[in-house]
Symmetry: C2
Subunit: 350 residues, 2 copies
């Protein structure tokens, strides 16, 4: 079969590989129809995340089940499925408690652990937990958003929304003010969630004009890094307090610090960015701010149904989310234009 | 009148001062009957918290209203009242949203801002919000715990308890494991709350044997710093995961780091310690742990009724909480023995 193989920084090649086979009784094999290219793959592509080479890329894929192991219960040959970005065992303590993002037996697609979905076929371990039924009425380009980016943006946003409605930050979404730092694909998904859930005022911060235009089209108020005085604008909109909830989707130190500064006392900072460095604020500042901070990634399987429902409500707006459809053979080009911010979302049609 | 005046580090004197008068229409004057000595006053007493001198100490007091300004609605002369450690205006955005710990017009008793309650009389600004009615059937030594330490410990604990019961950490209190770092007065109040609310397994960490004995008597499992392997014990009790919720009541870097290490992935760290330095963990560690961290102090007025209800359920256990009753004239001795850990809780009878 054809597969997109990682050969090192900026070196992506389409090669022939053997078709995967059922290995464990909980495996399924999926014939891929649409595979996404996710922003988090750029860490590897750019050489920032060091890894051995030779694995098949991709952790977003939609396709048809062609084989199942004897212990697979919820999927059968011929089913259309959507995968989660990492296989989840459904048996460990974390999976049993709905916290699959920290599954003890998790295997991430598109890494040395597990070949990914940018291929004609892919082996999905723990298929009952890893694969979800794909509603027939939804387009592949919408479904591929469900593998990672939509539930991730959804989670980052509702963590903030639900906190703001809770007893220690008792506000209605009508009166609350939010900020989303970062308007890449995940940020846009967070904004879709906010607007769908009834948020009336949310600022969207980014440096890229196209992303800000998209955020504005969703109903957010765009603020451009380097042009607008973000701190001043948010403080003025909140009688000097700061935002009730801030979602940080960027994953660097400056963004996390900015998120902290934009959050009001007793507010919430929901950070879903992938961070590698220090915490850029002091414990004394945290005490004085009485802040609550959430870190880390989303339990995709747990949130799948409710996030899908939210995405369906954004069906029209999301219809044009994929900007580039390419055949698998043009994978190298796909990575190149995505890395250069010349494409919002690239999918490979297999 | 007699009053306990701060003259600098380790220099506390009882002096004659003029009786306070109504100054603003929302003021009340309280004839103090019992005034507590709180651990947080030691920051000033030991010279760690630099301040000018000359003010009257004390932010815990119970007494009888002797005068009210024309705008005081909920208290009248003759009422028995309990004060909150800082006056809260009830009018600013934070007060209106139940977040009095960040009242924009707050005045802390026992500081240069506002003379405190270790005196025969004290002026209470914003009396309607600052003073609470004292139930007649409760002893002064119990009521004085309501000014600060009990609601503070209560808040630190329920922030963790309620999170553990919420959708992103879905557990029952029956199965959850908690750790309380620090078993001074506030820590003991947090432990009382935990046990009253149905927590079955909570580890209590401290370096002082008497505190650990007290924690054990409440039903907690004592772990002594420097003797027990705290990390190992907690990991073994949780199949290697760590505690579901950790409450940190100490307020130093080592305790905050230890609290982080003891918290499991997707768990909660509720820090009510007063912190002055850095955050002793990396953003990358936070991401990997998917942790939620709460910082800061309690909204005492908001929680007063429910915290009092919880304290009443601990009435017998709390009856012996005050270890030393002294007349106001022996205030210097009170500070001295409290600072040397020779007293668990000192109150002055006026």
């Amino acid at each position: 079969m054809k597969a997109v193989v990682f050969h090192g920084a900026f070196d992506i090649r389409v090669e022939d590989r053997p078709e995967p086979q059922i290995r464990d009784p909980t495996d399924a094999i999926v014939k891929v129809q649409t595979a996404g290219l996710c922003g988090s793959e750029l860490h590897m592509y750019r050489g920032h995340q060091t890894t051995k080479t030779g694995h098949i890329m991709g952790h977003e894929f939609v396709g048809i089940v062609t084989a199942v192991g004897p212990d697979v219960r919820t999927h059968k040959v011929g089913d259309k499925v959507v995968s989660v970005f990492a296989a989840v065992c459904q048996k460990c303590w974390f999976c049993q408690h709905g916290l699959g993002q920290r599954c003890e037996n998790s295997l991430a697609f598109g890494t040395q652990q597990l070949d990914g979905g940018q291929a004609e076929y892919v082996r999905a371990p723990f298929a009952d937990g890893t694969l979800h039924h794909a509603p027939a009425h939804l387009d592949d380009n919408l479904l591929v958003m469900m593998c990672d980016i939509f539930p991730t943006g959804y989670y980052g946003m509702i963590r903030a929304l639900e906190f703001v409605g809770a007893r220690f930050v008792p506000q209605t979404l009508d009166e609350a003010v939010f900020v989303c730092l970062g308007c890449g694909p995940v940020g846009i998904c967070a904004l879709m969630t906010a607007v769908t859930k009834g948020v009336k005022k949310i600022y969207a911060v980014d440096a890229v004009d196209e992303r800000l235009a998209e955020a504005e089209a969703l109903g957010a108020i765009p603020l451009k890094l380097g042009r607008d005085d973000i701190q001043k604008t948010v403080l003025e909109a909140t009688e000097g307090r700061g935002a009730d909830g801030v979602i940080e989707v960027v994953g660097n130190k400056a963004a996390l610090r900015s998120a902290f500064d934009l959050t009001r006392q007793c507010g919430v900072l929901s950070s879903i960015g992938f961070h590698q460095g220090e915490v850029p604020f002091l414990a004394s500042e945290c005490y004085a701010k009485n802040i609550t901070v959430n870190f880390g990634r989303a339990p995709i399987s747990t949130l799948f149904t409710e996030a899908l429902e939210c995405l369906e409500q954004n069906r029209e707006r999301a219809a044009s989310f994929v900007s580039h459809e390419l055949p698998l053979s043009e994978a190298a080009k796909g990575f190149d234009i995505f890395e250069k911010y010349q494409a919002r979302k690239v999918v490979f049609k297999v």
